[in-house]
């Protein structure tokens, strides 16, 4: 069963006509998004600045009420 599924996907990818260029675009896009943008440019502001949910909640309340 697993062998058949593997074969199905393997042959499918192998026989793709537009595939190579598209896969290159997809892979480059995902690398840029997740390994560069997410890591270096888009840290989660609250998660990286506060340790607990309580701290995060208190900070946001302070922001909203100051």
């Amino acid at each position: 069963m697993i062998k058949n599924i593997y074969k199905f996907y393997y042959q499918g990818f192998k026989n793709m006509t537009v595939g190579k260029k598209l896969w290159a675009i997809i892979v480059i896009k995902l690398i840029i998004m997740f390994l560069i943008l997410k890591v270096f440019f888009f840290p989660n502001f609250l998660k990286s600045n506060f340790k607990t949910d309580e701290d995060r909640g208190n900070y946001v309340i302070k922001q909203l009420t100051q």
Partner: protein
């Protein structure tokens, strides 16, 4: 909110708008083309005619290109929530979590699994199972859109939640109220039907190119007939859901409705300006008022659109800003005062809880709950009232261009369908060129729909509760500017890649050897 970095707010908004607009260039074709392909393949399975298989496979390739390049572009928006809009992300609590988690699971199982069968399964699985997979890809991709649109609808009409002052988060109390809110249901159907119309225009436009080049005439005519019927049916659905959007807007977002119509003074039998030219009124020193000239109006239509009653009173911007006791409309000043009480009560509640003073905490909580529906207005207590009015020219013109193009598409569907049925379409070169050049117009109409929705609800991130000025993270605006330009470059690159690959696939046309192979197999 004494010191607001407007540069930060503006760049964060601009970045979100840029990524959302680019993301939306890829989404609607996936939503609509998947159904058109499913109809074409159904024809193939029903008739056994290999020409339908050839047609299905051609459009499936274009679907694949669009899907592959567009996939995951929406995740960027989630990155931005966490970095640029952290107050908002925290404040919405689990309202977004549940729908987005369901979307992720559905997208993975329905789309990712069956999309492989759809592309790789020809001649490997039975015809009926392949067809089922194609339909499941169409249904799955549309259901994925449902959850995102539910989340967006909640921001326009926050329902089914309760604010928790201990955590500063809105907590979902009724999932079904969130899912089945009138705004959510209508938004979903309006958005997906608009995507169907775009896809129908795309198929007709590309097919028209083949006819203009005297290539693949049978393929092109069959594609045009399917797409024009699909486009006509969904255009009528879009009119119904568009009407629903107008009613929801008038009821839940009256300022957006008034801005979209440039209606300053509320009135009964309010007319709808079909077209008009806006000019800034220099005599109004308080509001950035626009006068409308060269207009063509339909009497009472706005009242009917909003409340199904020609005599209904449609509030104008002056009513909403200054209040109207006769029609039970609070002024912005009153709402700002109530909002300020809500904000102060939240602070009092937190301090009282910290010092263990339960009676003060309970009193503050009561005041907070009473005034919570006006919470966001508290940030505007001492600010210019124009900050609470959306960009009127942008909303006004976007709506009219979108609707005008919508009627153009209906006429196009009707004309090409009749001509294709009579077998006269290939001779009507003007119609074919019109169909071809309608492709970019469909994208413009689709994007303008979002402009009306999102620009029209400014300054709110969550309607009446949280404005953009309170939702942004305290980060440097320069970092947002850098990522804005990064996204601009990346998305433009993706768009160019999509267009180039699409064009090369279109020029190749449908597989030529397929029919011969199919005849041999059969």
């Amino acid at each position: 909110m004494e010191h607001i970095d407007f540069s930060l707010v503006d760049w964060s908004r601009a970045q979100f708008a840029l990524t959302a607009l680019y993301h939306w260039l890829f989404v609607p074709l996936t939503l609509g083309l998947s159904f058109i392909i499913a109809f074409m393949e159904t024809q193939y399975v029903r008739t056994g005619n290999p020409e339908w298989k050839r047609i299905t496979k051609f459009w499936m390739t274009l679907f694949g290109v669009n899907f592959a390049i567009g996939v995951a572009t929406g995740i960027i928006l989630e990155f931005e929530f966490g970095t640029n809009w952290s107050n908002y992300s925290w404040f919405v609590g689990d309202i977004f979590g549940a729908p987005l988690a369901i979307e992720g699971i559905m997208a993975f199982f329905l789309e990712s699994t069956f999309i492989a069968v759809m592309f790789f399964g020809w001649n490997k699985v039975s015809k009926k199972f392949h067809l089922l997979s194609t339909w499941l890809v169409a249904i799955g991709s549309n259901l994925s859109a449902l959850w995102i649109l539910v989340a967006n609808a909640w921001m326009q009409y926050p329902a089914g939640m309760k604010f928790n002052p201990d955590t500063a988060r809105n907590e979902m109390v009724n999932f079904w109220d969130v899912l089945f809110s009138p705004v959510a249901l209508n938004k979903f159907f309006h958005t997906v039907t608009s995507s169907y119309v775009l896809s129908a225009v795309f198929v007709i436009g590309v097919s028209a190119w083949f006819l203009l080049k005297n290539k693949e005439q049978l393929f092109a005519k069959k594609s045009i007939i399917v797409a024009s019927i699909f486009g006509l049916v969904t255009s009528f659905l879009i009119i119904i859901t568009g009407d629903g959007s107008a009613k929801n807007m008038a009821k839940y977002q009256p300022m957006k409705f008034a801005a979209m119509e440039n209606l300053y003074t509320g009135r009964q039998n309010a007319p709808l300006a079909v077209i008009g030219l806006l000019q800034k009124d220099k005599t109004d020193t308080i509001l950035d008022k626009q006068n409308i000239s060269l207009k063509i109006e339909i009497p009472s239509l706005l009242s009917i659109m909003a409340f199904q009653d020609a005599n209904a009173y449609v509030p104008g911007i002056h009513d909403l800003v200054n209040g109207n006791a006769e029609h039970n409309i609070l002024s912005y000043k009153e709402r700002s005062d109530k909002g300020k009480i809500a904000i102060t009560s939240l602070a009092e509640y937190k301090n009282a809880k910290k010092t263990g003073n339960d009676s003060i905490a309970n009193a503050a909580l009561t005041k907070l709950n009473e005034n919570y529906p006006h919470f966001g207005y508290g940030y505007y207590a001492n600010r210019n009232v124009n900050e609470l009015i959306p960009n009127i020219p942008l909303t006004f013109y976007s709506f009219r261009i979108m609707v005008g193009l919508g009627f153009h598409f209906i006429a196009l569907f009707l004309v090409v369908w009749i001509l294709a049925k009579k077998d006269k379409l290939e001779k009507k070169r003007f119609i074919l060129y019109t169909a071809l050049w309608s492709i970019p117009l469909a994208y413009i109409a689709s994007e303008l729909g979002w402009v009306v929705t999102e620009v029209g609800r400014q300054p709110w991130v969550i309607q009446d509760i949280l404005p953009t000025i309170a939702a942004v993270s305290q980060i440097k605006s320069t970092s947002v500017q850098i990522t804005f330009w990064l996204f601009f470059v990346i998305f433009t690159g993706l768009l160019i890649a999509e267009i180039k690959i699409m064009l090369s696939q279109i020029k190749k046309g449908p597989e030529t050897e397929l029919i011969e192979n199919e005849i041999r197999i059969n």
